[in-house]
């Protein structure tokens, strides 16, 4: 059953014939489309073997990175993804640009649209920012959500799905455990949605009660507060970053206390399946959510996630710009 929220999300993101035109949230996107993103990203992984790691798909197009919130890895990989598609890339650090002089967000976006940008990659601390821009401000520019508040980080979820698929093959029989700061994590929410859509057998989130969102029971996953129970025989273990900058209350006694109970160490990893892979969206707080020996160990695929991030971002950028192009062609024809 598609509920009202997911069909609204689908309406904004998809063209009338079901192709991607914005990429804002995993919610509402069908399994076939997520699989198409993974397949396309896999093909882009192949391009990374060539001496020239570029394809000419977005030659003459412009991609604007609009980061209203700090980011290093996401911003760098989006920039590289757009450049590897041969697009011209504009990276704006909004805190230091016109908005600081009093220009409103709407004016900034309308100006960029007037400069004929084809895609906006948007990161914002407000949940729903990317959706607002796609539905209300510039619907004819492909909007890619690079993280909005606590809401969603869909490209991170998809690069995680690509990493899982490349290491584990099919999704159906996997047990996937996500550990840590679920409360503040837009990554966890997007991951659980993607894992469910792709048909993963068992999805577990593991956290202290204070770091679980109140609506976690509606997430279609199992909830554990004890690390050992949650990790038991898991095929994929994802440690999340403890988001210290978003902690505005006394949610944890101390980082040491968190590490003692929820830290992914060599000892605790032994509870998972012996061939389990270890993932982390970065940046890593070593000794807080993960032990260095695990982060750098043989089961870690954390740097592979970064490489896959470029391929996934190339896939969604090219698919969304393609969807917008075809929508416009149809509008002109009718």
């Amino acid at each position: 059953m598609i509920d009202a929220a997911s069909s609204a999300a689908a309406r904004v993101q998809l063209t009338s014939d079901g192709r991607l035109r914005h990429f804002i949230d995993i919610e509402g996107l069908p399994k076939a489309l997520l699989t198409e993103i993974l397949d396309t990203a896999d093909s882009f992984r192949g391009v990374q073997d060539a001496q020239v790691k570029k394809v000419p798909l977005l030659r003459g197009r412009t991609v604007a990175n609009l980061f209203f919130e700090n980011s290093t890895r996401t911003r760098a990989t989006f920039e590289l993804a757009a450049k590897r598609l041969s697009a011209d890339v504009l990276s704006l650090d909004i805190q230091t640009s016109s908005t600081a002089k009093g220009e409103t967000l709407l004016d900034t976006l309308n100006n960029l649209e007037a400069m004929q940008a084809d895609a906006f990659v948007v990161r914002h601390s407000d949940s729903g920012a990317a959706h607002f821009i796609a539905s209300q401000v510039t619907p004819n520019v492909a909007i890619i959500n690079a993280g909005d508040g606590r809401h969603a980080h869909p490209t991170q979820a998809m690069l995680d799905m690509l990493t899982i698929r490349r290491h584990k093959g099919a999704f159906e029989n996997l047990k996937v455990a996500i550990i840590g700061d679920i409360l503040h994590s837009r990554v966890a929410r997007s991951q659980v949605l993607a894992l469910n859509t792709l048909g993963v057998a068992e999805i577990r989130v593991i956290a202290p009660r204070t770091l679980l969102p109140v609506d976690v029971e509606d997430w279609r996953c199992q909830v554990f507060t004890r690390l050992q129970e949650g990790l038991e025989d898991a095929d994929v273990v994802i440690a999340l970053r403890l988001q210290k900058e978003r902690m505005d209350g006394a949610l944890l006694p101390s980082e040491n206390e968190f590490y003692r109970h929820y830290g992914l160490t060599q000892e605790s990893l032994a509870w998972a399946h012996p061939e389990a892979i270890v993932m982390h969206p970065g940046p890593i707080n070593r000794g807080v959510e993960i032990e260095s020996a695990v982060a750098d160990g043989p089961q870690a695929v954390i740097l592979d996630q970064v490489t896959n991030g470029i391929a996934v971002r190339m896939a969604v950028l090219s698919m969304a710009v393609s969807g917008q192009t075809q929508s416009r062609a149809r509008q002109r024809a009718s």
């Binding site: 093909s43 992984r45 060539a50 020239v52 798909l57 393609s322 192009t325």
Partner: protein, 173 residues
């Protein structure tokens, strides 16, 4: 219009390639075949076995190099290109099933040069059709066909390989 049987066409292509290898004194140890997905890979696979070349077969999917993204958008089901050898300074034979406009070959050459600088690239095609839009001609060709306007030829395979006529719906080949 009757379409030709494929085995004699493949025989002719193998013989022509043998002649070219001798005439140009190409190094068999380093000569590599590169098939263009999908039909070109099937043909290249047969030629590769018949010529008994030691270098493994390369495959290209030119989906990301097509020139019609603005009109058609991203093609579906793009496979990973796979060139399991160093392209630099190597003699290559690009293989496709049907050459018509020449745009696929243009895209394939662009992609190929992103992997390195080959010494020489030859082109082999099972069938060529009139309708060239670029200055591209195969060095080796199984058969040249003249089809009525709007008709195309399609290769099915890989086992058995067979040709059939279809009404044209796609714009490049």
């Amino acid at each position: 219009m009757p379409l030709p049987d494929i085995p004699p066409l493949l025989d002719a292509m193998v013989a022509d390639l043998e002649t070219i290898i001798d005439e140009h004194d190409l190094d068999r140890q380093r000569l590599a075949l590169v098939g263009i997905h999908t039909g070109g890979v099937w043909i290249a696979d047969v030629l590769h076995r018949r010529l008994a070349l030691p270098t493994p077969l390369g495959t290209l999917d030119i989906g990301f190099w097509r020139d019609d993204f603005s009109h058609q958008g991203l093609p579906e089901n793009i496979r990973t290109s796979h060139l399991p050898f160093d392209v630099d300074d190597r003699d290559l034979v690009l293989v496709d099933d049907v050459v018509m406009s020449g745009r696929t070959i243009r895209a394939a050459l662009n992609e190929l040069f992103d992997y390195g600088r080959p010494r020489r690239v030859l082109l082999a095609a099972l069938i060529t059709l009139p309708g060239r839009e670029l200055p591209i001609q195969p060095d080796v060709c199984g058969a040249r066909l003249d089809l009525p306007a709007g008709e195309r030829v399609k290769l099915s395979g890989p086992e058995p390989l067979s040709l059939s006529l279809v009404t044209q719906t796609r714009e490049i080949s």
